[in-house]
């Protein structure tokens, strides 16, 4: 995914790793947003391809601004180009283990890698949200969906009937 060049990709990635998602305790790298990094040596131009989580995510302009500001500040960088691309589409499966752990600590769970969202007909069968999502606080499976839309476009709200906490679960996309 990240092209190896003579120039220091690592420096750029280290900087990107310090940029948090504006709405979740996770860096944009651990969230899997960074798809491609390209450094053109002569022009000192850094080009970064970002995969939007949800198209309607209002955090995108903020993320773009943060990337520009922080990468521009690296010595030798003259120009930063940030592009939002859809190939491949972002998926929750791109979230790193470190990212999953950090989210869980803050009460946000992530669908299992490779799991599918059932939709009707040719794509599967219709199901309500009945499958158990383990509570990130007490690990109980005695949980239920409270609202399929949450505080951000990528999260839903669940309630744990054992420890009586609400927690958030990322949408399967």
């Amino acid at each position: 995914m990240i092209s190896k060049t003579m120039l220091d990709n690592q420096t750029i990635m280290d900087v990107l790793r310090t940029i948090p998602d504006p709405e979740m305790p996770i860096s944009i790298v651990d969230l899997g947003l960074v798809e491609r990094l390209d450094i053109q040596e002569n022009s000192a131009c850094v080009s970064i391809d970002i995969l939007p989580t949800f198209v309607g995510c209002p955090a995108l302009p903020m993320i773009e601004k943060d990337i520009r500001t922080k990468v521009q500040a690296i010595e030798g960088v003259k120009e930063v180009v940030v592009r939002f691309v859809y190939d491949p589409p972002w998926s929750v499966d791109r979230i790193s283990d470190v990212g999953r752990k950090s989210l869980a600590e803050h009460g946000v769970t992530v669908p299992e890698t490779g799991s599918k969202l059932p939709v009707p007909g040719h794509d599967g069968t219709v199901t309500l949200h009945t499958s158990a999502i383990a509570c990130p606080f007490c690990e109980s499976n005695n949980t239920r969906l409270e609202s399929s839309f949450g505080p951000t476009r990528c999260r839903m709200i669940y309630y744990c009937d054992d420890c009586r906490n609400t927690f958030e679960h990322m949408k399967r996309v």
């Binding site: 949800f54 198209v55 309607g56 939709v119 009707p120 219709v126 409270e146 839309f149 709200i157």
Partner: protein
């Protein structure tokens, strides 16, 4: 392919306008529920759905802009009513009837999911990439509305009757979602809007009937009249002009203004 043959630009613009205009109008209609939905969760849901649809429309207008050279904003808000390609079903007011709002989304979301699936297989790569992303998001909408169909269908006699009435009222408008835009056949031919494994209308009916059955509701769906002319070719209902005027009120104060 990454470059579109010149003769297909106009048909593709028509098709993309139909997708984007459906989403823009439905999103706008759904945003009416912000602050007024029957429960807090659905207030958030309908606001989020509106946010999604309008954002989807925006990315599609940007893609259209790459074909026409006109800005996305101008494309979204700067056209006359007969230049819009949305279907009548997204124009209708729901009169703050929750069952109508759900019934409308039921017909439209299932249609949109199939349409985006077709577009995600498009031979025109920028479109296929974008449609794949939108298709993944649209699944969440379908799941949400199907859950409501089942919930209201099995709620009590009152909820079931209201939803049945809503389906009966708005259902007759739904097949016109399938009206073809000018030049659609050429796009199908060129693989830009490929067919699904079966006739899209048949798959759509099957999907809807499956959910209706689970919900204990009756659904009668007739194939659209091939000669009927409607929103896809610029012929809109009486509800469209006022909706457009309301939506464009701010834009028209100062077209081209930067925010």
């Amino acid at each position: 392919m990454n470059t579109l043959p010149e003769n297909l630009k106009k048909p593709l613009t028509n098709l993309l306008l139909s997708v984007a205009d459906d989403k823009l109008m439905l999103g706008h209609r759904n945003s009416d529920w912000t602050g007024l939905a029957p429960i807090l969760e659905e207030d958030i849901a309908f606001s989020s759905l509106a946010q999604d649809e309008i954002a989807h429309a925006q990315t599609l207008y940007e893609l259209i802009s790459s074909l026409t050279g006109k800005s996305a904003d101008e494309t979204a808000y700067g056209r006359s009513a007969d230049e819009y390609r949305c279907a009548t079903i997204v124009e209708l007011p729901d009169d703050y009837n929750w069952a109508v709002a759900i019934a409308r989304r039921f017909f439209c979301d299932h249609f949109d999911l199939l349409r985006l699936k077709r577009l995600s297989k498009s031979s025109y790569k920028p479109l296929a990439d974008l449609a794949s992303r939108l298709h993944a998001e649209e699944k969440v909408h379908v799941q949400h509305v199907d859950a409501w169909m089942v919930r209201l269908g099995h709620g009590n006699d009152d909820s079931k009757q209201r939803l049945q009435d809503a389906l009966d009222t708005i259902g007759p408008y739904a097949p016109m979602l399938f009206e073809q835009v000018d030049g659609e056949a050429e796009l199908v031919e060129a693989g830009i809007y490929p067919q699904l494994e079966n006739e899209m209308f048949i798959i759509w009916c099957d999907d809807l009937q499956q959910v209706a059955q689970q919900s204990g509701l009756n659904l009668t769906l007739a194939a659209p009249d091939a000669d009927a002319k409607g929103g896809r070719r610029g012929l809109h209902s009486e509800h469209f002009a006022p909706l457009l005027d309301e939506m464009c009120e701010v834009y028209r104060l100062e077209p081209g203004a930067a925010w």
